[in-house]
Symmetry: C2
Subunit: 96 residues, 2 copies
DNA sequence: TCATCATATGAACGATTCGTCATATGATAA
DNA sequence: TTATCATATGACGAATCGTTCATATGATGA
């Protein structure tokens, strides 16, 4: 039985994954590293809204960021995140 | 690029996974099939609260249920759900 | 230095969500 | 049938969440 705080962490991880805007961000990052301005135009959203969500994703260790000149580049954090997204998609697809 | 509605479905799947009570339920079901009364005592919660969350999990096709006499038995829906829980735990554990 | 571009952050509003209480449904046993 | 046990559901209140607006930070180039 995993400890109670691990279970809380797991719930928190999924909670952060459980938002349409954040899934769209992760889906874009699934393909390639992108900066905030790329994501802003891909999503067609407010820059502020995108930054807010990126902060949530960073805090949850779902994405990593690194500076490059004026820009900040974002990536999925590790292979677990790729796996969660892929398996999640498989599940919702087969439900159709 | 997965369709917009698939992305919405995926966000919804994770959203339902992203709650402490529901993770505790899923964690218990990861080990074995259980009825509502088992879950109620394992979680130490209101029967009503447990039933409400089981309904959310059922609607999201994360668990399956079957009647057995007076009881209703619950299981994780399929192997994807087992995988998501296992990989999620791996991710939060390695973050420690 | 100053102007500009890219990103981050704080406050606030509207919407959603979880647990509780009360009650309903449905099955078994007497 | 009636009593009882197991489960489900509706309504409500407190808390949480996502977006927007306004503004701040921080780096580049002139």
């Amino acid at each position: 039985m995993p400890g109670a705080s691990l279970q809380e962490d797991l719930a928190q991880l999924f909670k952060v994954l459980g938002d349409h805007t954040r899934i769209r961000i992760l889906n874009a990052l699934y393909r390639s590293e992108l900066c905030v301005c790329d994501l802003t135009s891909i999503l067609g959203m407010n820059q502020s809204a995108v930054s807010h969500q990126l902060r949530v994703l960073r805090d949850a260790k779902i994405v990593r960021s690194k500076k490059q000149g004026k820009n900040v580049l974002y990536n999925l954090d590790d292979s677990h995140i790729f796996d969660l997204i892929r398996i999640g998609f498989e599940h919702v697809q087969e439900g159709e």
